[in-house]
Amino acid sequence: MSLRIVVDVTEPSFPGAVAPQRRTTVDSLGLRLNLLEWGDPEASPLVLTHGMWDHARSFAVFAPLLADRFRVIAVDARGHGDSAWAGAYSWFTDVLDVINVLRWVGRPAVLVGHSKGGGQATDAARAVPELVTKLVSIDGFGPPSLIDEQPLPVRFAEFLDQRRRQVQRGTWRPYASLDDLVERRRAQNPRLSRDWLRYLAFHGARVESDGWRWKADPLMAHAIGPWRPEWIGPSYATLRVPMLAITGSESDTWGPLPEPVLAERLQRVPQLARCTIRGAGHFVHIECPAETAQAVLDFVRS
């Protein structure tokens, strides 16, 4: 089979998307994390953490809207974007990465995370409140209650089978063109314009000899463990910094949680502000960057 590779390597542009002004790397637990920065390096810091399968360039419109006021630092999580791939993945080490970035910044920062990055930012804020002035979680409040369709040992055996298969495979299949990746990403971001999707896919993938591949590590796809969503609410009770909880009004694949579930969790946060962005789904800051940035700026000022 011959695969026609379209190597259209010109960087796509998108209105409002600004390339980072600085790039740097930080070592965390022996892994190289890639950081992108916008704004005055002397300004007060604001750290951004993205969600699962996403990357720091997904903040390319949102971050510049905060950069007049802040030194904005967007982190590629391990296994994502231009950060290194790990030997294995765990929530615990992801959170330690956020803490290590905050330590590297060295001054108390506003911490803003989306989705899984929001949950990890929340755990980091709980662990090192002295390094976080305020916390913003953008639809990062965990999954709904788990419905276990199979007995745990059966699911565990499937996890082990997937681990064995991963040894043999270990990489994504190549896509013939960037447009194929755009179509793939459109499935989870149905409200985004084609140009925006193309920008996000371009920075989330790299072109290799046999085609385009996502940068994110396929090894992250499978996980199992004792963790329960019922633990999220009680964990919020130990949060010692103010939290702004941002959700979108529109239902999509990943969110938002049904309001009673969300409210039950968030009522445990000691200092809580909430904000709903009209017309946005789970990717609130990507779909409505100006409104989301304004909500963050209002919260920081309050």
Binding site: G30, Y89, S90, T93, R126, L152, R164, V167, G225
Partner: protein, 216 residues
């Protein structure tokens, strides 16, 4: 020999090569396959001892993500090489042995659970005040464990997580000596196939071997 789990090369030591039922030994936290010494010298079949990732002669997990589920993957990679085998685990290895005995019940006729380092983990429920310690770790020194394996001393091990594995396991032997055992162990002890024995490690392995000869 070395086997691969994900991206990590693991040392699997073949301690004895007799014909008969196979045994896989899983050491405790901060330990290695060397800890077993001559304990399995009288085992009636082949004996293998695994060094978990970050321990003994096995590679570290780049970036330090250690959890019992990944260690179960280490042991499962060893089983893929060995085939059907009884397993014996100490400390965190005992917890891994329980998970594996439940998940791979068709390939594990019996599991022996022994005390040792990393037996309790972080307890049966999350402690939201001590989940994320401010530990900074250096590189792994020659002959030492990866310092990040200390994460295996703080993962949560709920009773209701352990119970279904205890119910699914073909046969569990638990070594007790009157000292306290963590809640997950109590759940394993209440499994339908569980037997409690009061012996040292060598005698416990002889007991396990005797059950395997009978079944073989």
């Amino acid at each position: 020999m070395h086997i691969l789990h994900g991206r990590v090369a693991l040392a699997l030591h073949e301690l004895s090569r007799r014909d008969g039922p196979a045994l896989l030994l899983l050491h405790a936290l901060f330990g290695s396959s060397a800890d077993w010494g001559e304990a399995a010298a009288t085992w009636p079949g082949a004996v293998f001892a695994l060094d978990f990732a970050g321990h003994g002669e096995s590679e570290s997990v780049l970036g330090g993500a250690y959890c019992p589920e990944m260690l179960a993957g280490d042991a499962d990679a060893a089983l893929a090489h060995i085939g059907v085998a009884a397993i014996a685990g100490a400390g965190v290895g005992a917890y891994v042995a329980l998970l594996l005995a439940g998940a791979r019940r068709d390939r594990i006729p019996a599991a022996l659970l022994l005390p040792g380092d990393g037996l309790a983990g972080g307890g049966p429920l999350p402690d939201f005040d001590r989940e994320f310690p401010s530990f900074t770790v250096g590189a792994r020194a020659p002959g030492e464990c990866d310092p990040m394996v200390q994460a295996l001393d703080r993962d949560v091990r709920p009773v209701e997580y352990a119970e279904p594995f205890a119910r699914a396991a073909q046969r569990l032997l638990l070594v007790e000596d009157g000292t306290p055992r963590p809640p997950w162990w109590e759940a394993a002890r209440h499994g339908p196939s569980a037997t409690v024995i009061h012996t040292d490690v060598s005698a416990a392995l002889q007991h396990l071997g005797a059950t395997q000869i009978t079944d073989h």
